[in-house]
Amino acid sequence: MTRGPTWFNITSLVLGFSFLYLPIVLLVIYSFNASRLVTVWGGFSTKWYASLLQNEQLLDAAWVTIRVAFTSATIATVLGTLAALVLVRSGRFIGRSLFSGMIFAPLVMPEVILGLSLLLLFVAMDQARGFWTVMLAHTTFAMCYVAVVVQSRLVGFDKSMEEAAEDLGCPPVKTFFLITLPIIFPGVIAGWMLAFTLSLDDLVIASFTTGPGATTLPMKIYSQVRLGVTPEINAVCTILVAVVTVGVIAASLVTKRQQAQRERDERAAFGADLA
């Protein structure tokens, strides 16, 4: 019996992927449009990419976004990892389920509410809004994601490895940096990347908490689109898509190769017991 793809399978595949990727493909194609009119094809050109480099405003916004994303992701990773450690390690204490519930809550909280409450807080604190407030706001919600990702890595962690390190003369804090952190590092990195991307494309919370001089890229794009889509915007978005795609593909290739290497090693080691 041959089990080739049936027409039904092929059709659903095509429909599904078109639904997902057609808008993005269109965006990429129109970023190479020579015409100023977004919806009219006027020949191939890369001039919008060139003019992008001249657009100070967009470049500024991009720079702000990267700085916000980098700082907030880093702080969120530290805080989120600590939160995950406490929740996984400290066993049962009064209010444990309340705490873990509160860690998850911002994941499902509407962004508008989160943004508004942060804005109210900053106003109450009489804090001038700008780079630091956006950064803090992003740290707040990103750390929940980090905590969740790191927590899943910690659950499978064999605690006797830490005990072994202490038994061999390594004090607890040093053990954390020499043993625990290197082992959960893939989880921590994944958390950082997630936090970075979330901060990169956040529009709602940034709009609430930002101030003059700290416009992020999504905010910039959004405000420009309201005045009409320019091919320049298409070009920016294409670059963003390219960066994300390359990152994801690279990450999955690395993981795949490590996995394959590991399986080969384990197969090789299996035979050694019989030898």
Partner: protein, 385 residues
């Protein structure tokens, strides 16, 4: 009559028989509670330098907790622990002169074999060339030289076990703690490794404390065994003593195979005790003197290999001679186990084992044969409860 001794003698090493020999490890009235649950209950134990000591018991008997208290991972609720004369109270694990080999091996997955072994030495800030030579020595000792650069996941189970051993030995601890060290290995490899462990312990002249639930393993490697139950020591003795002179029904039943016969004391004299089986009325004559009073019900424990079996019918009323019918036969190759029905009830059987010393037998024992079981006056032990 020449003085008899129990079992083969492996080495002349009996510090526990001299009362003023200083102990190397001492648990003094140690109790450990986890909430309501008492894991270790008012336990006192002395272990001597260069001894290979085994803590043996079922799961939840407190043996692992006892070892973890010595390593410093648990704090006793009450009581004291001494190691080489020093009170261990308040000393964290990373400052204790003991090292532990974990059941899961707990190898550091991100470090190579040699880095794993060097880890403890680096914590002591030894000079680099000392670390290097010690690691090389450990690799040689555990036959791991060719795997030095490998990561743990590139090793087989047996190799990982040896890395864990090398890592815990590298610092030359005063005492090596082994927590079910061979549990993850298959039977053949486990037996080999047991003898390797013994050789290693004698070569390095170190004190080893092993926790295990496997009685064969404990009996193979240890100088002395402590049988534990419900957080307390039931018996502490050499493997041969534990097997041949168990002090309770629990130990007799836990170690090896045993026939437990419920019997009543009918006569006590200077030369021994006479018992009568409660259910079947046969007479047992033992050279053992017991504290049990006349008419008291006791247990007579006799190992199956000490019960001889022969075809034929016994004399009525003869001493240490029980007639019966062959009820079940198990042929295991090296030995055969015969279940002999000695009473009315089908479960009322006594087991006899014998080595199959010849390949052929003229008249093999078979089902429903009439047989006689006999045993010597010193073959069994009288146990009260």
């Amino acid at each position: 009559m020449a003085k008899k001794s129990i079992g083969p003698v492996r080495r002349e090493f009996v510090p526990w028989e001299s009362p003023d020999h200083p102990p190397f490890i001492e648990f003094r009235n140690v109790t450990k509670k986890f909430g309501e649950f008492t894991a270790v209950n008012d336990l006192s134990l002395k272990i001597y330098e260069r001894e290979f000591f085994a803590l043996l018991g079922g799961s939840g008997c407190g043996k692992t907790t006892l070892m973890r208290m010595l390593a410093g991972f648990e704090t006793p609720t009450t009581g004291q622990i001494f190691l080489d004369g020093q009170d261990m109270a308040g000393i964290p694990p990373y400052r204790r002169p003991s090292n532990m080999m974990f059941q899961s091996y707990a190898l550091f997955p991100h470090m190579s074999v040699e880095k794993n072994i060097a880890f403890g030495l680096k914590q002591d800030k030894l000079p680099a060339q000392d670390i290097e030579s010690r690691v090389a020595e450990m690799l040689r000792l555990t036959k791991l030289e060719e795997f030095a650069k490998r990561k743990p996941h590139q090793l087989s189970g047996g190799q990982r076990q040896r890395v864990a051993l090398a890592r815990s030995l590298a610092k030359r601890p005063k005492v090596l703690l082994l927590d079910e060290p061979l549990g993850a290995l298959d039977r053949k490899l486990r037996e080999e490794t047991q003898f390797e462990l013994m050789a290693l312990q004698e070569d390095l002249e170190m004190t080893f404390l092993i926790v295990t639930h496997d009685q064969e393993e404990a009996m193979t490697v240890a100088d002395r065994i402590a049988v534990m139950d419900k957080g307390q020591l039931v018996q502490v003795a050499t493997p041969a003593e534990i097997y041949e002179t168990p002090n309770s029904k629990f130990v007799a039943d836990f170690i090896g195979d045993v026939n437990l016969i419920e019997a009543k004391v009918v006569e006590k004299s200077t030369t021994g005790t006479r018992l009568v089986s409660v259910t079947d009325g046969f007479v047992i004559d033992s050279e053992q003197n017991t504290d049990a009073g006349t008419d008291e019900t006791v247990w007579y424990a006799i190992r199956p290999e000490k019960v001889r079996i022969a075809q034929g019918t016994g004399e009525a009323g003869a001493v240490n001679q029980i007639g019966g019918l062959v009820w079940d036969i198990a042929y295991l190759g090296d030995v055969s186990i015969i279940h002999v029905k000695v009473g009315e009830d089908d479960h009322d059987t006594i087991r006899s084992t014998f080595a199959n010393v010849s390949r052929m037998v003229e008249k093999p024992i078979t089902w429903d044969d009439e047989v006689v079981l006999t045993f010597d006056r010193d073959a069994g032990v009288i146990l009260r409860g």
